[in-house]
């Protein structure tokens, strides 16, 4: 009984416990603790992500789902003085592929595009992969799409993730090669430049001026890029525009250049090699500046074919150089400097002072020859200039000090950049100090004799010579040549450039008159009769610069032909330099070109569209070669600088 009672009692105790479920209360309490713990942990985690890390994730979300593209600012136009637009922009449709957007669907998208553009899939793919290496965010797969291509792509854009077609302005040069050296060209910015310039608002896809005005006036022409932010979905499709900043177009440049003259100059020169520069003597404004051979600047945008590029980059004529700004031996055109020095030093007191030219000149143990082997007989200053008598100037050379010639040269702007462009050469005016420094040698008196006829170390550019003759033409006003007359901003405001008078060179009027008479006689009776234009005063000086090469291959190169002149109906209205590289004689080759140029300038004939006829046969061969016995230290051109 006892035992049983105990069991019952014990059982009922357990049952009571179960019925009361006290232990269950405890467990439920712990369940609640677990619930609140988990809720707290989760809430804390979301608080951390959504409040503390909020800005971090917003930034990530934006960089993932918003793409920023640059809207290129249209570059400024370049307009000639007579209002012809010679560099502008045209609207083109460009096909871009966003690298991130196309991701793993590259093949699919490229295949569809190859069908739409009717191109070979393989070559399109190859092009894409090549471009991808050099592009950062997107690849310009094809530029200048046709209308039908644009339409075909636009309607299928939903199925072409990462693809976009953009209307962009592309640089356009309507007159191509004639303006290549003057305007220069643009090409895509490279990596180093981008890193340097990105603070100035350049984007990776921007074009940058490479030469000529495009480079020098880059900051004016560039404009300010705009930006557009577009949403991109997970499949790479582009959607809504979130923000847009419009670009600001670059400023226009209005030039001093005369369009007809420029085209004429190029037509005259394009079958030859060389440069033509024309200046206005009243302010130094450049009326024309061409160099040949030339390159079509449009090709830098549309692309060269492999053959074209090889032809250009390996050409001996170096079409990239602006020969108007490169330096060459000036030959006899330099004789005016010798004459001016002699007049200033009082060595020539009247044009009647004469020298007898037997065709040669003995100096010390050496014999220097006149280009006219038969000799000129008795020559005074005016005749000496007109017939370019070497012996007359040798004689002056023996009486002058090289220092004086050099200082007069420098006074007239030789040996320094005329325009200040990066591709320009300063040239070389030799003197004692220079020779000591560069060649570690003393100056020989014989070298002064050689210098006096524009040979030897002296190097000048066609533009520098035009500047020199401009001073003679306008009576002593050394203007700095300039090419941009006005900068016109988008809002219509203009910045006018005033001509810069570098200095007024004091010259005795009588001396100036004698020199001018000599230059007139050059055309009237002397070496450049072929430059005469009826009814127009033309005065100038020919030059035939000897090119002696030390290398056997180029030994028999022709001489450089020069003709520097000014012309006008009463007062001089134009100064020009005609330079034909390895062209032959100045009188035979260069002077006729000047005549054609002046004919167009004075509206006697219309600008030629065809190449100028060869005038060589009509005009007797005139060779005013220096044939001195001393070896010319110049190798090809510019050798003095190289040493």
């Amino acid at each position: 009984m006892k035992n049983r009672a105990f069991v019952i009692k014990d059982l009922s105790k357990v049952k009571q416990k179960i019925l009361k479920s006290e232990f269950w209360e405890k467990r439920v309490f712990w369940a609640k603790i677990l619930l609140f713990f988990i809720l707290a942990v989760l809430w804390g985690r979301f608080f951390y992500l959504q409040v503390i890390k909020h800005s971090y994730y917003v930034k990530k979300a934006k960089s993932r789902s918003v793409v920023t593209y640059t809207i290129k600012a249209p570059r400024g136009n370049i307009i000639t003085a007579d209002g012809v637009v010679v560099a502008t922009n045209k609207a083109v449709f460009n096909l871009y592929i966003d690298i991130e957007g196309v991701k793993d669907k590259e093949d699919e998208v490229l295949y569809k595009l190859s069908k739409l553009l009717e191109e070979d899939f393989g070559s399109l793919k190859e092009r894409f992969y090549l471009l991808k290496k050099t592009s950062i965010s997107r690849v310009l797969l094809k530029s200048d799409l046709r209308w039908d291509e644009v339409a075909k792509i636009m309607v299928r854009l939903y199925y072409l993730p990462g693809v976009s077609v953009e209307v962009e302005s592309e640089r356009y040069y309507p007159y191509g090669e004639a303006y290549f050296h003057l305007i220069g060209y643009v090409s895509k910015i490279n990596r180093e430049e981008y890193l340097k310039l990105k603070d100035k608002g350049y984007s990776v896809e921007d074009l940058i001026g490479r030469q000529g005005l495009e480079k020098v006036f880059e900051e004016e022409l560039k404009g300010k890029n705009g930006y557009v932010e577009i949403e991109r979905d997970a499949y790479g499709r582009l959607g809504r525009v979130i923000a847009r900043t419009e670009p600001i177009a670059g400023n226009d440049l209005i030039l001093t250049v005369d369009h007809n003259l420029q085209l004429t100059a190029y037509e005259l020169l394009k079958v030859r090699r060389g440069a033509i520069v024309a200046l206005s003597p009243s302010d130094g404004g450049i009326l024309a500046m061409v160099s040949a051979p030339s390159v079509d600047p449009q090709k830098f945008i549309t692309g060269f074919t492999k053959e074209e590029w090889q032809a250009i980059s390996s050409a001996k004529q170096s079409p990239f150089l602006n020969k108007a700004l490169k330096v060459y031996p000036p030959g006899s055109t330099y004789k005016v400097i010798t004459a001016l020095t002699a007049l200033r030093k009082g060595i020539i007191t009247s044009p009647g002072q004469s020298v007898f030219c037997p065709g040669y000149f003995n100096f010390g143990s050496r014999t220097f020859k006149c280009w006219e082997h038969r000799g000129h007989g008795t020559v005074g200053l005016i005749k000496a200039i007109a017939v370019s008598c070497d012996v007359y100037f040798y004689t002056l050379g023996t009486k002058l000090d090289v220092g004086d010639i050099a200082s007069v040269s420098k006074e007239f702007g030789l040996g320094q950049k005329a325009l200040g462009w990066p591709e320009e050469d300063a040239g070389l005016v030799p003197d004692r100090a220079w020779k000591r420094k560069r060649l570690k040698q003393d100056w020989f008196p014989g070298e002064t004799v050689v210098l006096s006829i524009g040979q030897g170390y002296i190097l000048t550019s066609p533009l520098q010579l035009a500047k020199l003759y401009m001073v003679i033409a306008n009576g002593g006003y050394l203007y700095r040549p300039y090419i941009v007359k006005t900068i016109q901003k988008v809002d219509g405001t203009k910045i006018e450039f005033q001509p810069v008078l570098e200095k007024k060179i004091e010259m005795t009027p009588q001396h100036l008159e004698w020199i001018r008479q000599g230059l007139i006689e050059v055309v009237r009776s002397g070496t450049a009769k072929s430059a005469a234009v009826p009814g127009i005063m033309v005065a100038g000086k020919t030059g035939t610069a000897q090119v002696v090469s030390l290398s056997a291959k180029t030994k028999h190169l022709e001489h450089h032909a020069w003709f520097v002149s000014y012309a006008g109906k009463g007062t001089p209205e134009i100064v020009s330099t005609i330079f034909v590289e390895h062209g032959g004689s100045g009188g035979g080759v260069a002077a006729p070109l000047a005549r054609e140029l002046y004919k167009v300038f004075f509206k006697i004939s219309t600008p030629p569209n065809q190449a100028l006829e060869e005038e060589r046969e009509e005009i007797p061969e005139v060779g005013e070669n220096f044939t001195g016995e001393i070896a010319n230290p110049l190798e090809e051109e510019n050798a003095g600088e190289r040493r």
């Binding site: 209360e25 992500l49 971090y56 994730y57 990530k60 979300a61």
Partner: protein, 363 residues
């Protein structure tokens, strides 16, 4: 049985709050799906599931009694379910495609097991489950989980966590618990390194993606990374409808199902997250209170089990999408789209509310 008028009133009064919370979550989930849905059809499909679920809920709530279920019926259901799972295991499928709808039978394992075990244990309630019984129960649980495991490892694991934690509250003898714990620890120390080598690349990748979502943003961590961006960019008050970048621009994979909460967090921010956690948390709290106040043990076990299932479901889903836990493909009740899960949710709620209501008609 005597039913008084007062009891009706009392039953409604005491459970009204919990019921309103269910309705609030129902509305919230459908509104959410409405704004995510790309087509109206998708939203309507989801709404129909919810309406169907709610109808089942009401029908069973008023016309059935959880206590009147026969053991035999549950037992057969259990075996039929296992048979279906076995067939699916052979064909290597997770979804049972019936043509007009596809079901995920593994979801139904939860309530069958819950009901069956509760019934079994409540026959002789005790402070701790006797070892023999415990062994049987482990066997009951293990069978379907093993059948699920090859196709859906995460789900099997999470269900294991759910039932184990439930049994822990019901009462596992201390000695057995310690034995199990040390066994699990030993197992993991010995087998984890071996298992790691045996894991398939995609399984390893999920671990990598969990540990460093930003490093593997393009591969294994893609989902988690996008989910974190979506949640983080929601901020305090969210980006509102149709504004969120992640949702609208299709960066969130599984935005209707597993990552539905990331969308919620992006749209409504921490404010929305707090509201949801409060509502959902209250529902679980309500379930635990039901377990506390119910007089019969069958009800106690059942309602606690339902609460725990809801709790773990929340924890693994939210923990997964917020990078707290490795990401698992477990849906979140109410917010996630899906037929099976929606029906299951309402069946579980039926069990909970049935327990809550019936106690007033007991005496």
């Amino acid at each position: 049985m005597q039913v008084k008028e007062d009891n009706h009133k009392e039953a409604i009064k005491r459970n009204l709050k919990g019921f309103l919370v269910v309705l609030a979550l129902f509305a919230l989930g459908n509104i959410h799906q409405f704004f995510i849905a790309e087509s109206l059809g998708f939203f309507i499909k989801n709404l129909l599931w919810h309406v169907l679920g709610l109808s089942i809920f009401f029908f069973l709530l008023f016309f059935t009694d959880y206590k009147k279920v026969s053991f035999r019926a549950l037992w057969y259901a259990y075996w039929i379910l296992n048979f279906v799972l076995f067939i699916m295991l052979i064909f290597g499928k997770r979804w049972l495609n019936l043509g007009f709808l596809s079901l995920q039978p593994s979801e139904f394992v939860k309530f069958i097991l819950l009901w069956l075990i509760s019934l079994y244990l409540s026959r002789e309630p005790s402070e701790v489950i006797p070892p023999k019984k415990l062994l049987k129960i482990f066997g009951l649980i293990a069978l379907p989980l093993i059948l699920i495991m090859p196709a859906d490892l995460d789900y099997a694991f999470i269900m294991g966590v759910m039932f184990f934690s439930w049994l822990l509250f019901i009462g596992i003898p201390k000695r057995i618990f310690i034995l199990l714990l040390s066994g699990v620890l030993l197992f993991s120390f010995v087998f984890v390194p071996i298992a790691w080598q045996k894991l398939k690349p995609h399984q390893k990748g999920r671990i990598y993606g969990y540990l460093e979502p930003e490093k593997y943003a393009k591969t294994w961590g893609y989902q988690l990374n996008q989910s974190l961006i979506a949640i983080g960019s929601g901020g305090l008050t969210g980006q509102k409808f149709y504004k969120g970048w992640s949702t609208r621009l299709g960066y969130l994979p599984a935005k209707h199902t597993d990552l539905a909460f990331a969308v919620w967090a992006e749209t409504w921010g921490l404010l929305g997250v707090s509201v949801f956690l409060a509502l959902y948390g209250y529902l679980i709290y309500f379930g635990i209170c039901v377990s506390q106040t119910t007089k019969d043990w069958f009800g106690k076990y059942l309602s606690l089990g339902v609460s725990l299932i809801f709790l773990w479901q929340l924890f693994f889903n939210l923990g997964g999408c917020s990078g707290l836990l490795p990401m698992t493909s477990i849906p979140l009740p109410f917010l996630s789209y899906g037929g099976s899960i929606t029906i299951l949710v309402y069946i579980l709620l039926y069990l909970l509310f049935n327990v809550a209501i019936k106690k007033y008609f007991f005496k």
